[in-house]
Point group: C2
Chain length 219, copies 2
């Protein structure tokens, strides 16, 4: 094992993921994407979390002219939690995890890291297709065929340790591991205080409520 | 069929690919990556080619702090043609086609395009693993699992019409289709005139020589 690359948004899930990677697969490079997201405040939180752990932090800037989503286009409203029912909500960003993982795999090859960590979750989540285990499995195969190291039989492992956990279990895991949950940011709307009403805020609140603890980022 | 996204570097292969896409899958969006490549002059050539066809042209800016390659790092020399033997040469950019295709797939979803074109070639090529058909096949599966449209059964098709062609056949195909080969740029070294000695220049020269025609970009 020669380290890992962790996709770090600065939110709850990716911070818990980083906590696990620091234990399991150091040295860690935390990778954060500046994609002109509405909630760019998460970039500062990602830097704070990476600083807390003292890991290398790389910010990748990605300017896509028309990446239509409520998260990147201020003309599209962020819906209230649950408003999209069973549909994929407008906060879906086309190909986001595919792109983020692709960059992370390239960075892993550059750094000689054997693993990529992504904090996706298919239980308490917003229904995005690129959070499902079947996508992660197919991506891993494609990435290993694309990379020099993979083509030489030295495979990269894509790890999604939160995939099967409920949000409350993620909160508990983070607390157990001493993850700096007080430094994290989840709200899709950005600003200075979380809106408390978007899908991401609602999932986070549900997690802390079910875990029976107060959200340290709100105190 | 509702159009396509073509990854356009401004080189010979991607320009021939664009010529085919314009015939087969219009409307076309040409997608060019500004990744701080040494041969950034290709961006101007891509704009020229897209302008020739009058297709939409999007430039995606991608800043990766340490994307180590002879194509992105001026401290690494671009080798002379053939110098790397059977090894993958230092002009290999870790995960480049994986990343480019991922972005193209996301853009295709945004535009409602059904196909992505990539001008890779596994015959007269530099030995990059992300130019092989097995990678393209695995990527297509991963992308369709990642995208909303794919998860709804509306699959994206990744087309690599040059995959099995020799460079001379690509030149001939471009001439037959009236592709603006005089506007293209292939040299890895950048500058104002092609170096004539890098792998990319050598493959291009071989193609024109075997096709029995003069390179219109050199006249």
């Amino acid at each position: 094992m020669s380290g890992s690359v962790v996709v770090l948004s600065g939110g709850l899930d990716s911070t818990v993921c980083l906590a696990l990677a620091v234990e399991q697969a150091s040295p860690v490079t935390a990778l954060t994407f500046d994609y002109r997201q509405r909630h760019w405040v998460e970039l500062d939180h990602a830097a704070g979390v990476a600083g807390y752990y003292g890991v290398e932090h790389e910010v990748v800037r990605l300017e896509l002219p028309r990446w239509t989503s409520a998260l990147t286009d201020k003309n599209v409203d962020v819906p209230e939690a649950g408003a999209s029912g069973d549909e994929i909500p407008p906060t879906y960003v086309p190909g986001r995890n595919l792109i983020f993982l692709s960059v992370a795999a390239g960075v892993a090859e550059v750094h000689g890291a054997d693993a990529v960590y992504l904090g996706v979750n298919a239980l308490d989540y917003s229904g995005y297709p690129d959070c499902r285990p079947e996508f992660i499995e197919a991506f891993t195969e494609a990435a290993n065929l694309a990379l020099k190291r993979g083509s030489e039989g030295h495979l990269i492992d894509v790890r999604t340790p939160l995939m099967e956990l409920a949000k409350a279990e993620i909160v508990q895991l983070g607390l157990e591991r001493g993850a700096p949950l007080h430094l994290t940011w989840s709200c899709y709307r950005g600003g200075t205080v979380p809106c408390g009403r978007c899908d991401s805020c609602a999932l986070r609140a549900k997690g802390f409520a079910e875990a029976g603890v107060a959200d340290p980022a709100l105190s």
